[in-house]
């Protein structure tokens, strides 16, 4: 994984460790949406996803004194969110088991077997949050809001050519960041189709 585009925000981490609220705000604004998107893959409920991600940020603040071990923020946050979501799903599972034990088999689908599958999205969340701001914007408009290049150009107040360049750059970086994962899953798919 190329280090230069990853977020090695040592300064930010240091500020957070020192209890700087500004650093917390900055980190929150930068990663919140992406982490919600990640959590949503697990819980399929955006409100719940937001609440879980918020809990993670509360935890981040409480842990700020012992963040020395963390050298990259985005993967750390992403991992925290994943664990939180899995915890949450396990809790639900237990509750549902208690309530309706006959549905055990169906409920089981939620848990461990799906965790590996979301790794790609988690990598993507991390990679996206590390993209240059305007690249990320263009990509998100195109991918998640399904806008045409023309619409994106209007929204961002740039030419269509510029949008092409931004998206191309975003995809190139993402492709590089997710390289290992893409080939791995490619193999997976091949195995399945055999």
């Amino acid at each position: 994984m190329s280090k230069n585009i990853s977020d090695n925000n040592e300064f930010l981490l240091l500020e957070l460790q020192n209890g700087q609220e500004r650093a917390f705000d900055y980190i929150f604004r930068k990663y919140y949406k992406a982490l919600c998107a990640q959590a949503n893959i697990y819980v399929h409920d955006l409100d719940k996803a937001q609440s879980l991600v918020q809990d993670c940020f509360v935890k981040l603040w409480n842990l700020r004194g012992s963040l020395d071990q963390v050298n990259r923020l985005a993967p750390f946050l992403s991992l925290m969110v994943r664990n939180k979501c899995i915890d949450h799903l396990r809790k639900i599972k237990t509750q549902q088991q208690l309530q309706e034990s006959e549905n055990y088999g169906i409920v089981d689908i939620h848990s461990d077997s799906n965790i590996l599958f979301h790794e790609f999205e988690e990598r993507l969340v991390v990679a996206l949050s590390a993209l240059p701001e305007r690249c990320r914007m263009a990509f998100e408009y195109s991918r998640f809001e399904e806008l045409s290049y023309k619409e994106i150009a209007e929204k961002m107040d740039v030419s269509v050519k510029a949008v092409e360049k931004l998206i191309s750059r975003a995809l190139k970086i993402l492709r590089k960041e997710l390289k290992d994962y893409l080939f791995l899953s490619f193999l997976f798919f091949d195995l399945f189709s055999l």
Partner: protein, 346 residues
Amino acid sequence: MSKIENILSKSITSELSNEEQNILESWIAESEHNTKEYEAYVQLWEKSKELVYSDSIDVDDSLHKTKAKISGFKRSWNFATLIRQAAAVLLLSLSLSVLFHYISTNEKDSAQNEQPIYQEITAAYGTKTKVTLADGTSVWLNSGSILRFPSTFKNCNRREVELRGEGFFDVEKNQKKPFIVNTHMLDVKVYGTSFNVCAYEDYSNMTVALVEGKISLMKQSVGENKELIALNPDEVVEYDAYNRKLYHSSDNYMDKYTAWKEGQIIFYNDPIERVAQTLEKWYNVEINIVDPSLHSYCFTAKFLDESLEHVLKLLCLSSPMKYEIIPSQKRSDHSFSKRKINLSIK
């Protein structure tokens, strides 16, 4: 290379032109590496589909909520949040006023050809009433007073109301439309201020006391408005209708003119006549000053929610005066007369 990257990304996110399609196809066919590269892009695009970025997420609001869960954050030193809260309040009030303006201009359109409807509000004896007019002006009416006002001021170039009795006005500012209180004696013209007008029809005098702002007294003679006098805050004008004279004075005890709206009766060195007048209106009784020598007495007192008997007792305690209450009499038409109070020297 850069060009093919553009085409590659465009091929998965958008539509290619024929020329671009050709370039892409020949590039893919060039090598196995290229084919894999293309497929990686397609996969990246396909697999990212599940990630939902919602526009409905309000990041700042969420940040605020999160911080509320953290006990270490004191909100007072969170300046940015304060600013945001202030901005939110501002935005809300702004949108409310825009909405209000929208509604009121709409009203204006529909009310364009309508004559305003006049309403009358009466404060029964012994009660006080508060009314808010269409322009936001608040009026407190004292015991036995009547206010006549239009349901809207939209089509008039001035806001005119008619007062019989005593009222305290807190007038909304509007430089374009002066607010005018018509009484049976003089008119009071204001732009935005608060003041008290006492003009009972059975009084021989009218008193206007200004709390803040600026007002002027007007005399309406045929077709023209003549400005008689302008008042500054803490000034009082008394108009004597018999002698057609104005008494202009400064009074530091403004609350004696306005206390009634809080249910208080206040006298500051007031002559017995004014005390009697006030009590007459307040308790709906008739007061006779039997001994002329009582006219030389002045009273200073403050009452809050007291019965008439109690007020009279207290007044008599502090002076060589006594009172006698004559119960109301049944008249020949089966109605009852007012109770009468006779004040005399002990």
